[in-house]
Amino acid sequence: MKGVFDFSYRLPKRTYALLGSCAFLVILFAWYSVTSTGLIKEFFLPSPLSVGRSLIDLFAEHGFWKDCQASFYRITIGYLLAVCLAVPLGILMGSFHICEAFLEPLNNFVRYTPLPAFIPLIVLWCGIGDVNQITVIFLGVFFSLLVMVADSVSNMPKELLETAYTLGIKRKKVLLFVILPNSLPGIYDSLRVAIGWAWSSLIMAEVVGANTGIGHMIMESQRFLRTANVMAGILVVGLLGILLDYLFKAFYPLLFRWTEKSRRL
């Protein structure tokens, strides 16, 4: 068993998945035990079975599809908008010190301001429609993503740049064909982390002010004391998160076969 605790020990894929599932099963079992024995009242913590039932109910009778759809729409637009702006700006920031000098202090100012503090303003300016949630997602993703992209770009080894120059390659091409490909894995990793922020921003926005969406459903259910629905909503958000993360992870070795990391995934 000593091998398992070696710092560089890698588990076989199947064991890895099995262990991950085990963690879920443990929680599920504990949850089931405390609810089925009546230790905690159904009102505070519904049993896994009733949460499952609510989930089916939500989709079958309460049009939860529409909420999911609305959430998906918002997150796609908000996230893409943030990515489309943050990645090019981040590349500029990471490549040119002058850009960094201009943007970094402002960016940090916004980044360290808690997002909920902006929500009243956003409601005031954008109402409670899609624009509201998209704006919140954008704000929640953009500023942090910018820093991460800039960071992975500026980690460019100096010698690689100089090699390119001594091959007679001009700066524009160096940016496109040397700096960019070298920082893509880092940028990709940042995107993966950023999608998590997008989810939490979305739910927050929907909880505070929205007519539709998963977050809105959660908030409504809380108001009508339908705890099982609240938990079902959280479950959906969590499951979607796992799925997205898995997708990001699965594509990494296909996209970046050349990295050391791709061998471990």
């Binding site: 091959l167 007679g168 050391e260």
Partner: protein
């Protein structure tokens, strides 16, 4: 106009929280021809990489300029390819794509590109790895890839910054040999930076040695390449000698002084044995004056104690500068003419008797001066051992005793040995008036060292003057030491003195006055004497080339004496 010209180039870096900037390179002058394999050799952090980067166009010179094929270097270009010490393969490209990267960016179509890529992949022996990513390659293979990639864009010069520094010995050796083969095949001009002497000797057709900061060129030598085709060269004596020479050159913060085994240097020997040599100064004894002079040229020594006559060739080529006209206690090292009592009564009798000296030696010069001063015809000098320049003072002593010659120039300890032996009574010392300062040992410093090792030279000169003063203040004790250590003679010096033996004769010749010497020096008297001795030496055939006044004047670095006089 050379292929690459570096003119009076300097590079300084500002140092944070420090007023004076760091001088990385100072006054670099180099001309490099097409096809040369130039190795920049120097201790770590001596600025040699900086120079390479300036040639690559990756850094700008602070002053001076680097010219490539007639145009000053402004920024990098594909004409000047570079291979770095760190692995610089583009990790997202395969071996083939890496090699073809430059060509692709320059817009070369796929077809011709793949042909060139194939050629260079073959040349560096990466066949079979064409589609591998750099992460799958070993360190040696990554460097092969870097070389192939640089060569693929057909640069006119290949700049290599310690490319094999991170590799293990075996891989490094095979890459070195392959690089030589590539250079033979492509006839590329290569500038190669290393701190490894073996590597420099194996690869370079020319080796340029840099001093520690501020980086200056301290040695620049073209090497014959005939025997450097293979590693067997490493097992030759020649290699060992070359390696020693370069190892010496790299020990830069050391003033290496070469002194003759001459009794006049006795004070310095004792100081050395007792560990009184100032720090940073290394004194080597022995070797013939010719060997020492070559040592100065090759950088084995920075400083020599030698006679004027031996120093003159160095001075005429500008390789050496005289910084002090005495370096040794003349009181004990004085040369005297010892002659057979009956045959040579006065100096005039020296004509037509047999004299022992080898041509172009100090003895030759002394006889020349004696003849000159006494109005004798030097051509009548009867030479005995012209053909044996390797003969030493002790050989002359033996020849005198055996009756093979009638007079010879001797110094300690041969003089004592002669006069304390049974044969001693047959000889006497001729009272010739040899101008003391003409026979002084001079301290010659390699011209480059005058500025780079100024502090050490000053320390050495001060040390020499102090030991000489001490020696003269304690003459008896010192002489006894001299006899115990330099000769087989068991008698003490005080005995010699009380017996009225040679040292009384020595007293007839004035002791060299250091203070007087200093003032002579300052008033330019030394230059006159130098001129005079040079003239005599030339007339006597001791010197091959006459020395011009300009050369003599330029050879003296008075600033040292002024500095010392000022203290």
């Amino acid at each position: 106009m050379s292929f690459i010209e570096i003119r009076d180039l300097s590079k300084t870096y500002p140092v944070s929280r420090q007023k004076t900037p760091l001088v990385a390179l100072s006054g670099i002058e180099l001309s490099i021809e097409e096809g040369e394999f130039v190795v920049f050799l120097g201790p770590s952090g001596c600025g040699k990489s900086t120079l390479l980067r300036i040639v690559a166009g990756l850094e700008d010179a602070t002053s001076g300029e680097a010219v490539f094929d007639g145009t000053p270097i402004r920024g990098p270009s594909k004409e000047r390819g570079m291979v770095f010490q760190t692995y610089t393969s583009f990790p997202w490209l395969t071996v083939n794509e890496n090699v073809g990267f430059g060509l692709k960016q320059h817009g070369m179509p796929k077809e011709p590109r793949s042909l060139i890529v194939r050629r260079y992949v073959d040349m560096v022996g990466l066949n079979g790895f064409e589609n591998a990513y750099p992460r799958e390659l070993s360190g040696g293979m990554k460097q092969r890839l870097a070389i192939a990639r640089s060569l693929a864009v057909e640069p006119r010069v290949l700049l290599m910054d310690e490319p094999f520094g991170a590799l293990d010995t075996q891989v490094r050796q095979s890459l070195q040999e392959e690089l030589l083969a590539i250079q033979r095949e492509t006839q590329k001009t290569i500038l190669f930076v290393t701190h490894d002497i073996d590597e420099a000797l194996l690869l370079g057709s020319r080796i340029v040695v840099f001093s520690a900061l501020p980086g200056r060129v301290i040695h620049d030598e073209k090497c014959s390449r005939t025997h450097r085709q293979c590693r067997d060269y490493f097992f030759t004596d020649e290699f060992a000698a070359e390696k020693r020479k370069y190892a010496r050159l790299l020990e830069t913060r050391l003033l290496k002084v070469g002194l003759s085994e001459w009794s006049g240097h006795a004070p310095i020997y004792y100081a050395r044995e007792d560990g009184f040599i100032p720090q940073g100064i290394e004194i080597a004894l022995g070797r013939t004056s010719q060997q020492r002079i070559e040592g100065l040229s090759h950088g084995v020594f920075d400083c020599l104690g030698t006679t004027l006559q031996a120093a003159l060739p160095l001075i005429s080529t500008g390789e050496g500068k005289i910084v002090l006209s005495t370096c040794g206690s003349t009181g004990i090292g004085t040369d005297v003419v010892v002659a057979e009592r009956t045959k040579v009564k006065t100096t005039a009798d020296l004509v037509n008797v047999r004299l022992a000296f080898a041509r172009r030696t100090l003895e030759h010069l002394i006889f020349a001066m004696v003849f000159e001063q006494h109005g004798l015809d030097f051509r009548k000098l009867c030479k005995v051992d012209q053909e044996h320049p390797q003969l030493g003072r002790h050989d002359y002593l033996r020849m005198l005793v055996d009756g093979k010659v009638d007079a010879a120039v001797l110094c300690e300890p041969a003089i004592t040995e002669l006069f304390t032996s049974s044969a001693g009574s047959r000889f006497h010392i001729l009272p010739v008036e040899i101008d003391q300062s003409l026979l002084q040992q001079v301290c010659v410093v390699k011209s480059e060292a005058v500025s780079t090792k100024r502090d050490l030279i000053m320390a050495y000169l001060r040390f020499v003057l102090e030991t000489n003063t001490l020696f003269q203040e304690n003459a008896n004790e010192a002489l006894s030491l001299l006899h115990r250590r330099l000769s087989n003679v068991k008698r003490s010096a005080s005995f010699v003195r009380t017996q009225g033996m040679p040292y009384y004769l020595f007293d007839n010749i004035e002791y060299y006055d250091l203070e007087q010497n200093m003032s002579l020096y300052l008033e330019g008297g030394v230059l006159d004497k130098l001129r005079k001795v040079a003239g005599i030496a030339w007339k006597a055939g001791v010197l091959v080339e006459p020395i011009s006044d300009d050369v003599l004047a330029a050879s003296i670095d008075n600033s040292f004496v002024e500095e010392m006089a000022g203290e």
